[in-house]
C-alpha cells in the first residue's frame, strides 16, 4: 500500500510516539522509513550563528537517530535519516515530494495560543500542502 513512509521527528515525546506508530506500520507493510528532522535557523540568520545552529542541530539529531536506527533494526525495517534546514512544515512537504514518500506520519505538539499565532501549527500546514496522506499522532 505504502512503498515509503516519512516520519517527521524533533526528539519530542510526540515525535517519538509518531515514530513508534510509523515503525509499527512499516514493519507490518514491509516498507522503508525516512526520518526527517528540520533545523530551523533564527530570523534573520547571521553568519557565524547560523553555522553554529546547524552544527548543533546535526549533532543533536545524529545522537537521536542512532537510537531510532537500533529500534528499526530490531523490527527489520529499512531506515534512512536526514536533517533538512528551513521551516519545518515546508521541509517535511518538500522532502516527502522529493523522496516519493506515500505517507507522512507526524506528532502534534500541544502549543499555546500565542505560539500558534506566532509560529503556526506545523501539522496543520503539512496537512494543507502535502501531496500524500498524512497521519497525525496525538
Amino acid at each position: 500500500m505504502f512503498s515509503r513512509i516519512l516520519v517527521a521527528y524533533d526528539t519530542s515525546e510526540h515525535a517519538q510516539s509518531a515514530f513508534e506508530h510509523a515503525l509499527e506500520l512499516a514493519a507490518r507493510l514491509h516498507t522503508s522509513l525516512l526520518v526527517v528532522a528540520v533545523a530551523r535557523p533564527s530570523e534573520p540568520p547571521t553568519r557565524v550563528e547560523l553555522e553554529a545552529e546547524l552544527d548543533h542541530a546535526r549533532t543533536h539529531y545524529e545522537e537521536a537517530f542512532a537510537r531510532l536506527r537500533a529500534a528499526a533494526k530490531k523490527r527489520g525495517v529499512d531506515l534512512h535519516t536526514t536533517v533538512e534546514v528551513g521551516h519545518p512544515a515546508e521541509q517535511i512537504v518538500r522532502t516527502a515530494e522529493r523522496e516519493h514518500c506515500e505517507l507522512i506520519v507526524m506528532g502534534r505538539r500541544g502549543k499555546t495560543q500565542l505560539e500558534r499565532w506566532m509560529l503556526g501549527s506545523v501539522s496543520e500546514r503539512v496537512l494543507r500542502y502535502a501531496h500524500c496522506p498524512v497521519l497525525v499522532v496525538r
Partner: protein, 395 residues
Amino acid sequence: MESTWFLAALWLALALVATLLAIWLRLSTALSEIVVGTVAQLVIGAFFGLQALDAQAPWITFLSGTGAIVLTFLAGAELDPEIFRTKWREAVGVGLVGFFAPFLGCAALAYYVLGWSGRSSWLAGIALSTTSVAVVYAVMLELGLNRTTYGKAILASCFVNDLGTVIALGLIFSPFTVRTAIFLGVSAVVFLALPWITPRFFRRYGDRPSELEAKFLLLTLFALGGLAVWAGSEAVLPAYLVGMVLAGTVGKDHVLVRRLRTLTFGLLTPFYFIRAGAFVSVPALLGAPLAFLALLGAKMVTKLAGLLPVTGAFRYSGSERIYYSLLMSTGLTFGTISALFGLSHQIIDQAQYSFLVAAVIGSAVIPTMIANAFFLPHHLMVEEPEEPAAVSTVA
C-alpha cells in the same frame, strides 16, 4: 573594583535577556542584543542617568572590539574555497556590482538629499553596501541550491560583496602614508605565510587542553589589528582576510571553530551588539523617521538596480534575478560594524549612527520578508485544496 563586577553582571543580565527573547521569538541573537541594548540604554538611562551602562568603559570597549574582530574572522573562515573555482568570474562581477551600487547610491543620497558631510556620506555608503551570506545561505539550504553551481556562484558573490565593504572600511578613511604601506606589506607576508605555518604548528603542538590554537589565532588577530589601527585603518579588515586565507585549513577544523564560537557567543559578541544598540538614540530616530526610511529604501533600490542587469547578463531568469537581488540586499553584522566604526572615529554623529543602525536592522528583515512573501517555494504557492488529501488521527 566591585563596581566593575556589578557592571559586568548588568551587561551579562542584558545578554541573558536578549538570548531568552531570541529563543522565544526565534530571532537571531545578534538582532535581539542590539534591540535590548537600545531599550536598556533608554530605560536604564531614564532612571539612573545616561552613564549607567557605561558603554565607553575601556574594558567594555575592548571586549566589544574583540567580539567584532573574532566574529569577522569566523565569518571569513566560513568561505568555501571550492566555490570560487567554479564560477569566479560571475562571483566577482555580481559581488562587485552588489558592493558598488549601494555604496555609491547610498553615499549620494546621504550627501545630496540628507545633507551629510562627505566623510559621513561615504561611511553611510559603506555601512549599507553589505550583504548577508547567512540569509542567502539559509535560503539556499532550504531550497537545496547550496550544492548547485548556481547557488555556489551567488554565495561566492556575497563574499566578494562583503570583501569590498571591509576593504573600503579599512582603507577609505585612512590617508595613504608610509604606515599604510608597512601595514599592507606586513599583512601580505602574513597572509602568504599563515596557510602554510598554521596547520603545521597546530598539528605539532595543538589539540591540548591549553588551547594553543585559540591563543595563536588571537595573537595573529590582535597583532594585525594593532598594525591596522596604527596605520589608520580598521582591525576587522585583517581579521576578515585572515579568516579567508585560513578558511581551507582552520575553517575546516570543526572542533576548533566550535570552541571559538563558544568564546565568541558566550562572552564577546554580547558586549559588541549590546554596545552597538546602546548608542542608538531613539529620540533621534523618532525625530526624523524619514531619514532612516530613505537610507533603507536607497539600499534596496540601488542593490536591485545594480544586480538585476548583472544577474541578467549571467542568464538568470526574471524571478531568479529579483529573488537573489533582494536576498543580497540584506545585511546586519558588517553594517553595524561599519556604523560603530564611524561613530567611534567621529565620522558620523549619534543621530546619523542611529539612522544607519536602524536602516541596517531594517535591511536585515524587510528584504527577506518581501522575498518570502512573493517568492515562496513553488509547492507552497499552489492553490490550497479544500480538504487535505487524507487525514488520520491516532488517539
